[in-house]
């Protein structure tokens, strides 16, 4: 009987290899495992054997059976897969180039928000925190505390929007610095961003625009620190661009400087550069050491602390970054602009 089992095992192997469709596979199964199948019959004949032989043969026979069943299954799955693949290949083909149909449209951030967030994130990475304050301000925070006395040209009605006597729309984000310093003690590393207003409306001015300003107050902050900080920020925004610090004048800082960046279009080798007006440099902001009078106005002792402050127009940076050529387009919200961001 053991010979018989071994023979059947070989036979089954070669038979399975020959089978090529599900029908023949079923026939093969019936041939061996059907009610009158070869293996079934052998199983039945086991009961004629003595118990010891029966156990021995039974085990062999069982393993033959499970082995065969497993092979049958595996062949069956293979064949089904081949069959399915054949059917799918014959099914109609989709035009995969038709537009997709996901029901949610793509939203977009305004380019000013994008640049603002980029600047805030860059400054937060080096420890700055965002301070906020109102857009409707009073003269103390917008001017007086910033060493801009009442006879200063910047306080003329022509430049600032007034709401009432002493109440105005902030003309820069600097009042946030004053409010924060009045609330907190140094050291202080803050930025303020947001809407600011000036009474000007032409090709290069809108009555509302956005600023980001930074303020750093410590025991001995210096021009050297200011230079490194702005170099860092500009590198984050525009890559490695040389900067120059041009002495200038602002009432609230002294020394003061304008910050120029090497022109990103002509790289400082201008023949006829439309971006920098052939100067090789682009003005990107103002900065300086906080004026002692500003510290005095918030009850900081200028002998104990120094500080630097800087400010940039977000529209300006955004125009340089994205090549936007008309300031006013920021506030038209034309979808053909919005959808590009």
């Amino acid at each position: 009987m053991i010979d018989n089992i071994q023979r059947i095992q070989k036979e089954v192997g070669s038979e399975l290899a020959k089978v090529s469709d599900l029908d023949s596979l079923e026939k093969l199964r019936v041939h061996y495992l059907g009610k009158k199948g070869i293996i079934t019959s052998l199983m039945a004949s086991l009961r004629d054997l003595d118990p010891e032989r029966r156990r021995e043969m039974g085990a062999s026979l069982n393993s033959l059976k499970t082995d065969f069943e497993a092979q049958l299954d595996s062949r069956k799955r293979d064949m089904a897969r081949v069959q399915l693949d054949k059917e799918l290949t014959q099914s109609p083909k989709l035009d995969v180039t038709l537009p997709g149909q996901f029901p949610i449209a793509t939203g977009s951030f305004h380019p000013i928000t994008l640049v603002m967030e980029e600047m805030v994130e860059a400054m937060e990475r080096i420890g700055y925190q965002v301070a906020s304050g109102p857009e409707i301000e009073n003269e103390f925070f917008n001017f007086e505390a910033l060493n801009t006395p009442s006879d200063h040209p910047a306080r003329d009605m022509q430049d600032t929007f007034y709401i009432d006597k002493g109440i105005l729309l902030r003309s820069h984000t600097s009042p946030v610095q004053i409010r924060t310093m009045k609330d907190r003690q140094p050291p202080l590393q803050i930025i303020s961003v947001g809407r600011v207003y000036r009474s000007d409306y032409d090709m290069t001015h809108t009555p509302m625009f956005h600023q980001m300003e930074g303020l750093f107050v410590e025991q001995s902050v210096s021009l050297a620190d200011l230079k490194a900080t702005l170099q860092y920020l500009v590198k984050q925004l525009f890559g490695n661009q040389p900067l120059r610090f041009r002495p200038s004048f602002f009432p609230f800082t002294e020394p003061s400087a304008e910050v120029d960046m090497r022109c990103i279009l002509c790289k400082g080798a201008p023949k006829e550069c439309r971006m920098c007006g052939s100067s090789g440099w682009l003005e990107i902001g103002g900065c300086g050491m906080v004026h002692p009078n500003v510290f005095r106005s918030v009850n900081y002792d200028p002998d104990r602390v120094t500080g630097f402050a800087f400010g940039m127009g977000i529209e300006r940076i955004s125009m340089l970054k994205y090549g936007i050529d008309d300031l006013r387009s920021f506030f038209e919200n034309d979808y053909r602009m919005l959808e590009q961001f």
Partner: protein, 810 residues
Amino acid sequence: MQVSLNWLKDYLAKTDAILDPKVLADKLTMRGISVGRIARCGTSGLESVVVGRIERIDKHPNADRLQVTQVVTEPNGTPRQIVCGAKNIATGDIVPVALPGTILPGNFEIKLSTIRGVESGGMICSGKELGISDDTEGILQLPKHSQLGQSLSRLLGQQSDDTLLEFELTPNRGDCLSIMGIAREVAPLIGTQLRELKAQKFKSTPHRTSSIISVEVPDPALCPRYVARVIDSFKVLEAPDWIQARLKSVGQRCVNNIVDITNFVMLEYGAPLHAFDLRRIQSGSVRVAECTTPQGFTLLNGQIVQLEPGDILIQDGDRPIALAGIMGGLNTQVEADTTTILLEAATFNPERIRRTAKRLGLLTESSRRYEKGVDPNTVLMASERAAVLIRDAYAANVYHPPIDTLETGATERNIAVDMREVRRIMGMPNFTSDMAADTLSGLGIDSQKKSINIIQVKIPVFRTDLKESIDVIEEIARLFGFEKIPAARPMTSACFDRMNETPYTFPQRAKTALVGLGFSECIHYSFTTDANLEHFARRSSGTIRLKNPISDQFSTMRTSLLPSLIQTYAYNKNRKAPNQRLFEVASRYEASSQSDTQAKETMMAAGLLGGTLTDNSWSSKGETVNFYHIKGAVESFLRTLTNAKPSFVPAASHPAFHPNRSADIFIGALEIGTVGELHPHALEILEAPSTVAAFELNLDALQKFERSRVQYVSPSKFPGSEFDIAVLVDKTASAFDLTETIRAHSSSLVTGISVFDVFEGDKVPEGKKSIAFRLTFSSPERTLQEAEVSGLVKRVIDGLAQKHSATLRS
């Protein structure tokens, strides 16, 4: 402020110093004396512009405004044909002719060309085109005896090669509104010193100025110094050529000797001067006083201005004769037959001058200098300089001494500067007091070492901007050069002490959430029209208006973001984008007496869906936007941003929204916004056609519900079960009320209640609707028994029947 390099050289010790204009301009700019423009002036480059004589003038056959001329440009030469547009030419005129190949100022190249079908071999030029005068009136007429063919650079030899620097000065540097001031800054940059003009010596004259006229200055705060000097025995003629040449080189118009010399000295020293015709001063007294009663006054340019109290006037007795520091009066101006003048040199209160000049829109050369501060010592020097120039050129008689209300002049102040502070501000620990002293001495500022750390700096009187130590430190840093200060990375512990950044971060998160829902961000001006707000704002609490708006379009602070958003929708719809999702996150402004700014600013988020929810596509038609779309957007938005469960109640009348298709949104009892389809009337006003649904939410109110802390509940390990109930109820019953009833009659085992079907009409009795709920049951502890579930379902059904007369649909 414009300065010609040749003029500048007059005041520098090393006159042969080679000043490359570009290099010099860069150096000055990097020292804070910003050069905005470099221009060529003078006659270099005019070699190929030659003297010509017009032989013949004909009308241009094809252009009314043009003429065709024949011009001879060499002795006995053949005429060349030139098309010309000027009116002031006649046969026989001697004119400048730019030959082809000439490059005129402004990089304008003259070429052989055909103008309206007629050949033109050059250009007949005006003084302006040649860059030698401001006269745009017409063609420059040359002297009759000029030699034909001679180049203009030879003809006008005295104005040789020159370069004009145009400065953009900062408001603190009034002292640089003069050639002398610029020369002071240039000197250290090219390694030389300033060549100061020698102090003038006058002999006392038998008649002192004070014997002819008196000066009264009751309030020295208005006029710290007034120097008056009488000059007589001269004739009003042309100014000396060299003075005219200098004035022309910086684009000044020449008038007569008195006007030109006072202008010349003003440009030289930065101290404005004024000459009165002494004949016209009737009272024998000049008074500097504040205007007391409003009155009209005629300026020397003929303009009549309205004087107001506070204006500083120069008066002849009670009669105004000049608007101090701004412009003289017509009644005392120098005329052709003037032989005696009163020369005024004075300083005035800068703020007053600025205020008056600004009010009257009179920004004159004089007022520009006075409002930035003119120092009292320079004023005396200027008076002397002008007197000498007039005396020497016209043998005039200068009365000496003059009247001077501040005979002592002003003395130099000392400022003590602590070198430790210099080092601290510059960030250069090794910056010595010698380096500071050297740096300052370049500008002629002396200093003395007082102790190991203190230097005493002697401030020149003309540097009115240097008032305290920090001003001197700035001066040191500026002159040393910012570029030489090394960058250093700061160290601080400031970042350990965090402040509340939510007012910035929460609106940013709101933007991110809305972008995630497919909305595009807009940014609009914070101000709009009154009318816009009237139609869109519910609250009547005070709107805030600007006192000085640019226009009515931008006159009132927004109390709602919706009007701008709808207008932008209409704008884009007109540009073929009918389907849009827009949003804005910005402040709303309301008057408030509680705040130190009289205003309350609330951060809002507004969104808009217009047209269809999605564009029509090849596979489906876009659905017209409706209440439930925008409500869904709001729900998703709130779920992203907050932990709160909003409730929606029919909107109390809101002018912007459809009365039956809008809802107010609450969290608990707190109202946080409104959502709905817009009122057709509102859309009509804003010319926004088609359906628009929108929301406006108060972000400041939402902020306290910010999704930050989550308390996790682990999902039940036991299978739950579901049960559907469909009931007939009154049409008006709200899903919210029904849900609340279900909740009230169930237990904690009911973990979900959702509406899955609503319908009316067929098979549903009149006035009723069918609404179907799916209830989810589950327990964290065990598998629920069927009896438990059916018991709860029965309770719910009974509850619905009792509260809403609901009947079960089978």
